[in-house]
């Protein structure tokens, strides 16, 4: 069987061998090439960062690479609007790109430079780009909870904006995640939850932490519409997310999409973590065979939408962009500001200044008794 089974799980997924079901239905050439380029751009970026990390030692922060997990971010990048909000956790680069945030500020941030997206304060795992309404952070389920609040804001303002929260299956261990399911289901919030289920939280198999690999079944009774996909098929991811996001904008939320995928690298950093023996060579081989980029590229070539020359052109453009951004990052100055107060607090309060006056108080009578409490 070379299409994914209708009920997916990491235990059974490797049985499909090589996935042969990529289908361009609903996707024109322009879109296809956009999806392809986005995946390739993310892949090449991660490969470059991975390669440069050691021994240069200039990127001094933890980086959780997402090689192998390019399909979902690429699909999202073609669907989100500038005024949508997106939130992710530690494995943030794919989402950062999906929201259209600039590569040069990513690189400069990782290099700890003033020109970084956060002036070198956040690094990879906490990066945000508020101009693009993209936010991340390293504490699991936080990016889910805060995303719920953004959706609350959109519902309140009655806009058609949506909130998108991207996370791994590990985050669903946290109680905070279930508060988010309950509340967004109750309030029917305009929020898209995207799980990239890559089977592991660090080195811990989902089935070491959860009785079953059945997150979509868990969230459904909370009032969250949920669907599973083979997450390395970018065309399928795009179609699924396209449908669900359209419904969200019509007020038919919330929705969760679980994409089965895999990280090729170690959990964090370029070091090898295989001494922890948490995953099999067969499993890794299956997922590399079903590389999201290779699967899609194959289809595009069969369709004659992509040939070697065209691919070279894309590769070159990406390589040029990456090289320029490394240069930008390395040329940028390090931050020097150590006004900790200013970094931490906002002292101005323009709205209060505009709306509030002052008024004299009186003399407080200190002979008053404490509030009389009742039996509650």
């Amino acid at each position: 069987m070379n299409a994914a089974p209708s009920r997916l799980s990491h235990r059974t997924i490797t049985q499909i061998g090589r996935y042969e079901a990529v289908d361009l239905h609903g996707i024109d050439k322009d879109l296809a090439l956009t999806l392809y380029s986005q995946m390739l751009r993310l892949r090449r970026t991660e490969e470059a960062l991975h390669r440069e990390y050691h021994p240069a030692e200039e990127m001094r922060c933890p980086i959780h690479f997402c090689i192998g997990q390019e399909a979902v971010p690429a699909a999202l990048s073609a669907l989100v609007r500038p005024d949508d909000f997106m939130f992710s956790h530690h494995r943030s680069h794919g989402y950062y790109f999906a929201k259209g945030a600039p590569m040069r500020e990513l690189f400069a941030e990782i290099y700890g430079r003033e020109t970084g997206a956060n002036g070198g304060k956040a690094g990879s795992q906490d990066i945000s780009h508020s101009g693009s309404h993209f936010y991340s952070g390293a504490i699991l389920a936080g990016a889910v909870s805060i995303a719920v609040g953004a959706a609350f804001g959109f519902q309140h303002a009655k806009t058609r904006q949506i909130s998108i929260s991207g996370f791994g299956e590990g985050a669903t261990d946290e109680g905070a995640f279930w508060e988010a399911m309950n509340y967004s289901g109750k309030k029917r919030l305009p929020i898209l939850f995207v799980i990239e289920n890559n089977r592991y939280a660090t080195f811990s198999d989902q089935l070491k932490r959860q009785a079953e690999d059945n997150i979509v079944e868990r969230v459904t009774p909370f009032g969250v519409r949920a669907t599973q996909i083979f997450g390395n098929d970018v065309a399928l991811a795009w179609r699924t997310l396209h449908t669900e996001i359209s419904r969200l904008r019509e007020g038919d939320g919330p929705v969760l999409v679980e994409a089965y995928t895999y990280r090729w690298n170690s959990h964090v950093g370029p070091e090898d973590d295989s001494a922890n023996a948490y995953r099999s060579g067969d499993e890794i081989a299956f997922w590399k065979t079903n590389c999201p980029i290779a699967l899609f590229e194959n289809k595009l070539r069969l369709q004659h939408w992509l040939n070697d020359d065209e691919k070279d052109a894309i590769e070159q453009e990406i390589a040029g962009e990456i090289a320029a951004n490394f240069q930008f990052a390395k040329d940028s100055a390090f931050p020097t500001d150590t006004d900790w107060h200013r970094m931490t607090y906002e002292d101005a309060s323009p709205l209060a200044d505009a709306l509030l006056g002052t008024a004299a108080g009186g003399n407080f009578d200190h002979y008053q008794a404490d509030a009389k409490l009742g039996p509650y």
């Binding site: 909000f85 956060n118 002036g119 304060k121 956040a122 906490d126 945000s128 508020s130 101009g131 936010y135 952070g137 504490i139 936080g142 909870s145 805060i146 995303a147 719920v148 609040g149 953004a150 609350f152 804001g153 959109f154 309140h156 904006q161 909130s163 905070a176 508060e179 988010a180 309950n182 509340y183 109750k186 900790w340 200013r342 970094m343 931490t344 607090y345 906002e346 309060s349 323009p350 709205l351 209060a352 709306l355 509030l356 006056g357 002052t358 008024a359 004299a360 108080g361 009186g362 003399n363 407080f364 009578d365 200190h366 008053q368 404490d370 509030a371 009389k372 409490l373 009742g374 039996p375």
Partner: protein, 325 residues
């Protein structure tokens, strides 16, 4: 007599006025939309501003704070209410790992103007899970403002300042203060953060009193007046920012310092105040500084033990006398 309002009603009025002045203000919390309205502090708001702006919330404190935070990112100005500080502890991840460092982490580009109100139970056998006052925890966290208002006048002005301000702020409200009245002007006014107030001028000893210790401190001062001891009572009103300057100014005059804090003894706010003074003008002190606090233990339910647990007028009298002796 000038317009008097209770502490609870001053909270209600501040919230009401903030909602009227700015349609981005929303109120979130368990039971905020009921008649009881968090001990009367939200009663009637839902009728006036509707269920979109005054919303009940599931019993899920962590998400409640996070929801306010995300909503603030979209431009709202949420006010979150907790019936007890103890319940709010579930939301410390949202507060500590996200809210407090959001501005910093974004390099000043993103803000979350969230106001969190939380109530410290006291009396009638609240017991150890309904009475914790963790203002020192919040004040230790960079990135937040922390208010500990003791009067109706102050809480109205500080609340308005916070709800219409840009920095996330936590209000720690003493339940015992709720019925106490004070002069509260009708118009919306501001009280600035980081400005202590001298509640009673005195020469002999400075008594810094926090939150619900303020009325007790003033009573103790009145008692000592009869014995010829002239106590200056200072109310910091906010812990972050802390008005170290005014505190030191007072101590520089009296050269004696007692701090009354309705919280646990060790590693608390009283220690910060004493240290701030010692660092600046420790060499000018004529007596060793003294803390009057709760013991390092938990709130007993029994009405026989509660009065022994909470410091009262006479505990302050003893400490003040010791300071001037």
């Amino acid at each position: 007599m000038a317009r008097q309002l209770s502490y609870a009603n001053a909270i209600l009025e501040a919230t009401d006025q903030a909602m009227a002045l700015c349609d981005k203000v929303v109120v979130l919390g368990q039971l905020v939309d009921t008649q009881s309205g968090i001990f009367g502090t939200t009663t009637g708001l839902v009728t006036k501003y509707g269920t979109e702006r005054v919303q009940d919330f599931p019993v899920a404190e962590n998400l409640m704070t996070a929801t306010a935070m995300g909503a603030a990112l979209t431009g709202l100005r949420p006010v979150v209410c907790h019936q007890r500080l103890d319940f709010m502890i579930y939301s410390l991840d949202a507060i500590t790992n996200w809210l407090a460092l959001w501005r910093f982490k974004s390099n000043g580009k993103s803000a979350m103007p969230v106001t969190i109100r939380t109530i410290v139970g006291k009396g009638w056998g609240q017991g150890p899970q309904h009475s914790k006052s963790l203002h020192a925890w919040f004040a230790h966290l960079p990135g937040l403002r922390v208010a500990v208002p003791s009067t109706a006048y102050d809480i109205k002005g500080l609340l308005l300042e916070s709800i219409l301000g840009e920095t996330p702020t936590i209000f720690v409200e003493g339940r015992g203060l709720y019925s106490m009245t004070d002069h509260v002007p009708e118009q919306p006014y501001r009280v600035r953060f980081g400005q202590a107030v001298v509640r009673r001028h005195g020469r002999d000893v400075t008594l810094v009193a926090i939150g619900s210790m303020v009325p007790i401190a003033l009573r103790a001062a009145t008692l000592l007046e009869k014995e010829g001891i002239d106590v200056e009572v200072l109310d910091p009103r906010t812990l972050t920012p802390l008005d170290r300057h005014s505190i030191c100014q007072s101590v520089a005059k009296t050269r004696r310092l007692v701090v009354a804090d309705p919280a646990w003894h060790s590693f608390g706010a009283a220690a910060e105040i004493i240290t701030s003074v010692s660092e600046e003008i420790g060499d000018q002190l004529r007596a060793k500084p003294i803390r009057v606090t709760l013991p390092d233990s938990h709130t007993p339910m029994s009405m026989a033990l509660e009065p022994r647990y909470y410091p009262a007028d006479d505990d302050l009298v003893v400490a003040l006398k010791q300071a001037v002796s």
